[in-house]
Symmetry: C2
Subunit: 265 residues, 2 copies
């Protein structure tokens, strides 16, 4: 199949929120975009980096009022076939959750040229806010990125994941954090360190730390909801907030945590 | 403990190699660095972004001729205590493998202020080169990032990891790829798609695709070695190269794969 022109689609990873966490390459690609398709978890300010582009919002949050996936895929193909540079912007890294797999398959079937620009996924930003490695080698051999939001409304095998001894970085788990933690307690000690970070890597970042036994209640009490990352594992216990109390169970905004570190420095 | 000045350490993620895959924030931080401590997996050209900084190379590859970790940690503390801005540059994302956990703990003990700038880890770049999602929802619920290089020379429980059904992104596994694949075959079909991507996300990127049964031989035949990412799982089978043959088992450089996609478009 020949498109007969130079149109293409670039999947661009917008990172966790802060525009400064875009890559240099993402900024360059946006500057050359003719059309930008924007997810609604992406900071709206990103359009300032694509001044010449027509911007189309195609967000879909939790299934409601969504732009159908098939429509998004047709839109990308239509503009690319007109010879335009279509930039599909996705939050975090485009290749972790978020249905890039389906979009890539559709574009491949349609014979549309596609490129991908990586970015920072929000679990990394969550770890940065806590100032912990996801994989401190005293504690684990790796990290599992898993979504709690499965297409068929089933659940991942939490106990099998916990049994690996890896750090767990759970995406889209806030609606079921209580049951999720209760299930994990079947395979991990109740005292296993855990954290919830909402809007990780953005100016609105808020987080709580605790244990598998307490984190759900702490997160609810602090009013944390989606979008948030739930981190579980001994590596997370390296966070400074675990060493101080009772602040260790408080809510930390991005700014206050820096202040806290300044005070403690 | 008070350092009594404005010195600090910033852990900066250099991404997988291509300087364009640095974040805007990383570039800004480097521009303000007084001292840069550089790992040897980081592109040497990164120093052009830190024109005013004293650059110290502290690389350690595979344990030989290494700068001792304790020395690196003392160096960071010493310069920060002089009021300088020390930028510790790590390949990929600083919070995935690479001993950031130990460095953060040492800096915390020393009362040194620390910030972290995230980046793109090489498994994401490997997936981008293959044009696959790490977590295509037709195939899996997540991805496991695991290191094959354990401190005590033991092995991760490969079969338990495989049994989760997640995509596996294996770091530092090239020295034992044969035994690793043989062990995985105990838990996964021999036909499970697999790929090896060396220098992912850099101009030198090279990759082979195959199956759990063939990938080790393909990688050896193509001369691929460290640093490389081994990807295993059905999500990886979505790569375009699996749909074409016999090229599917050839070696693809970054440039040729773009050409190939152009031809097929």
């Amino acid at each position: 199949m020949m498109t007969g022109n130079e149109g293409k689609v670039t999947l661009v990873s917008a990172g966790p929120g802060d525009l400064d966490l875009l890559t240099l390459k993402a900024a360059k690609v946006l500057a050359s975009a003719d059309v930008v398709l924007l997810d609604d978890l992406v900071s709206p300010e990103i359009v300032t980096l694509a001044p010449q582009a027509r911007v189309i919002r195609v967000g879909k949050r939790g299934g409601c009022r969504s732009t159908p996936q098939a429509f998004i895929e047709r839109l990308m193909q239509r503009y690319a076939r007109r010879g335009l540079h279509v930039v599909r912007v996705k939050g975090g890294d485009a290749l972790l959750f978020g249905r890039a797999g389906e979009e890539l398959a559709a574009l491949r079937r349609a014979g549309v040229r596609v490129e991908i620009v990586n970015g920072v996924s929000s679990a990394f930003a969550a770890a940065a806010g806590l100032r912990v490695s996801l994989t401190h080698r005293d504690h684990c051999q790796g990290v599992i990125f898993v979504t709690a939001h499965l297409r068929d409304h089933s659940e991942p095998d939490w106990q099998a994941l916990a049994a690996t001894g890896m750090t767990l970085a759970i995406y889209m788990g806030m609606s079921r954090i209580e049951s999720l933690c209760a299930t994990l307690v079947g395979a991990l000690p109740t005292t296993t360190p855990a954290a919830v970070v909402q809007w990780a890597g953005s100016a609105n970042e808020r987080r709580v730390t605790g244990t598998l036994g307490t984190i759900a209640a702490h997160a609810r009490a602090a009013g944390l909801g989606s979008p948030a990352i739930i981190l579980v594992g001994n590596a997370i216990g390296e966070a400074a907030s675990f060493a101080i109390s009772p602040a260790s169970f408080g809510v930390h905004s991005h700014e206050s945590s820096i202040e806290e570190l300044r005070r403690r420095a």
